[in-house]
Symmetry: C2
């Protein structure tokens, strides 16, 4: 509780209200925040309680955008000043519904090591054809190959080139792991990259060079106006015919139709993705409306790279740290620039 | 050609004959050996040529045991002194047919980095359920999970323990890569292990401790009398219920029936293998007679971890180096102790 003394009187500042929307149950992680705020859990509130609490909510902490947060509900949160996302990517936030005075922060960085490890897993599973081999063996259609033909189909990554598109936490962690495999790393980012271990690239030409020279490309950008569809027909056309493209960013960073056409006509090219295009309702869908799941050179996982960071506790730690900064009036981390999204 | 001068006379030593049996075609790799020997390729010889050449063959270089090398054929190679395997594992050699005076060398070490990279690929593909996810998504049976449940199912390997069984070239290379992922490494070997980066273990108790403490176990032993069936019911019983067992050694190192029973009753345990049990004819079979390929916690690849080392040229280099040692009369590498196999 915040207690002030003014002219000998003890003044109690009304404690801020923090509303938490999480689909998983690790409430004890937020216990340290009880020192600064009264915490309500969205799923606990019935209609009456919501009507009473919403106007007083100063801070929302949410993993994804809650389904119940429609225009009417959000408009009731008149005291809202701060929105802390549990996710690293904040593209699902309805920026149009949040007043401009509301500061929005992502939880970027809390998933970096976990997602990077998964990205390396997708690289190996795709490049070494582990998923495809297993499927063919199960179907009983695997045909024994001459050793040199088999060896040619199984990528060996030492000495190969990895291109990282987006050099934030995930990109840097992926680059670090790839270096250990003996890979040469090209890194593309918006901001100047100062990292002696990688070759930095920027601008349209930089991206084009990265795509041309890389054996593996990892997409690790946030989904913004600038990155939506950044990998389309032209970009795929300059890539190596046997490249592996890994997407741990968001489905829409890649143009769906262009990707399908490219995979259909380039059997040695592989697309391994943990993230998917949205359905008509805007929700990420694991059943794409083009038959990617029938292609041998497509590998999909159900947005599974990040959640292990919930279990390792890093996600909760990131949330608590930034909310503590907010309540203490300290500079915030990962403040989102709305202009990149709306 | 070896030319000697004795008392003013030029003496030509008869050039040794090297017979090569390779199912793949990279003949130019052996060109440096032409300085020391006349090279014949088994697949080029018709019956008459074979009858003429076999008695003169001093050296055989073979990838696997050639099908045509039956008792009668081998008995014709009266001049045979040296057998250089192209493989790292020599369990397929018919030791019973080779006279004791024939020195046998494996090509151990030439595949280490490639197989280790593949082993790490299997570890990630299994532990992160990449193969299983992709299969469920393709079948349309993947059920969305709560983020914490999903996070619990996807292994994150930083800080976890890797146990390496067999600390030769492949074992050491695997340990090195795992260290970079931030894993703690236990190493079990026949010989004393001097490697400050890992915790060495030996003896039956050492193996048992490794199996108990490891989150991931990689089998990287040669298949010998001592290692056949070394992972059976008792060994599996002490392992963690959600461990990942990787086999890049040989199928028979693991007891088939025990493995099947263990996978059937421990759904969180995974067996990811690149090597398979032999069929009744003794040939490694990708269609096991127990329905492993119907289990969700089994991952199989068709002995695909090594052949990329043929393409990278390391296999040919290993062969040429050791054969050169033989022709020059220098100490040989990877001499096989027959008593471990017969």
């Amino acid at each position: 509780m915040n207690i002030f003394r003014i002219a000998g009187f003890e003044m109690r500042k009304r404690r801020p209200i923090l509303l938490v929307a999480q689909s998983y149950n690790r409430r004890e992680e937020l216990d340290p925040l009880k020192r600064y705020a009264d915490i309500y859990w969205l799923q606990d509130l019935d209609e009456g309680e919501r009507a009473r609490v919403l106007p007083q909510v100063e801070v929302v902490c949410s993993h994804g955008w809650p389904k119940s947060f429609d225009r009417e509900t959000v408009s009731k949160m008149r005291s809202l000043r701060f929105f802390q996302a549990g996710n690293a990517g904040v593209n699902s936030i309805r920026f149009d519904l949040l007043d401009k005075k509301v500061v929005i922060c992502s939880n970027a960085g809390s998933y970096s090591d976990e997602v990077a490890e998964f990205a390396i897993g997708l690289m190996l599973a795709a490049g070494k054809r582990i998923v495809s081999f297993d499927r063919q063996l199960r179907a009983g259609v695997y045909a024994r190959q001459r050793l040199d033909d088999l060896g040619r189909r199984v990528a060996y990554f030492r000495g190969k080139t990895l291109g990282v598109v987006g050099y934030g936490g995930i990109g840097r962690a992926t680059a670090r792991m790839a270096k250990v495999f003996g890979m040469d790393v090209l890194a593309f980012g918006r901001h100047p990259i100062k990292d002696g271990e990688v070759r930095p690239l920027s601008g349209r030409e930089g991206l084009s060079r990265l795509l041309k020279e890389s054996d593996v490309v990892v997409l690790a950008v946030p989904l913004t106006k600038a990155t939506k569809g950044m990998i389309g027909k032209k970009e795929l056309a300059v890539m190596k015919s046997n490249a592996v493209l890994i997407n741990v960013a968001r489905g829409e960073v890649v143009e769906k139709e262009a990707m399908y056409a490219h995979l259909s006509t380039n059997p040695d090219f592989a697309y391994a993705t943990d993230v998917w295009w949205p359905d008509k309702g805007g929700v990420e869908s694991f059943s794409p409306d083009l038959p990617f799941l029938e292609l041998d050179n497509f590998i999909g996982s159900p947005h599974a790279s990040g959640p292990s960071a919930i279990i390792s506790g890093r996600v909760g730690k990131g949330i608590v740290e930034n909310l503590t900064r907010y309540f203490k009036g300290l500079p915030l981390k990962n403040v989102v620039d709305r202009s990149e999204y709306i």
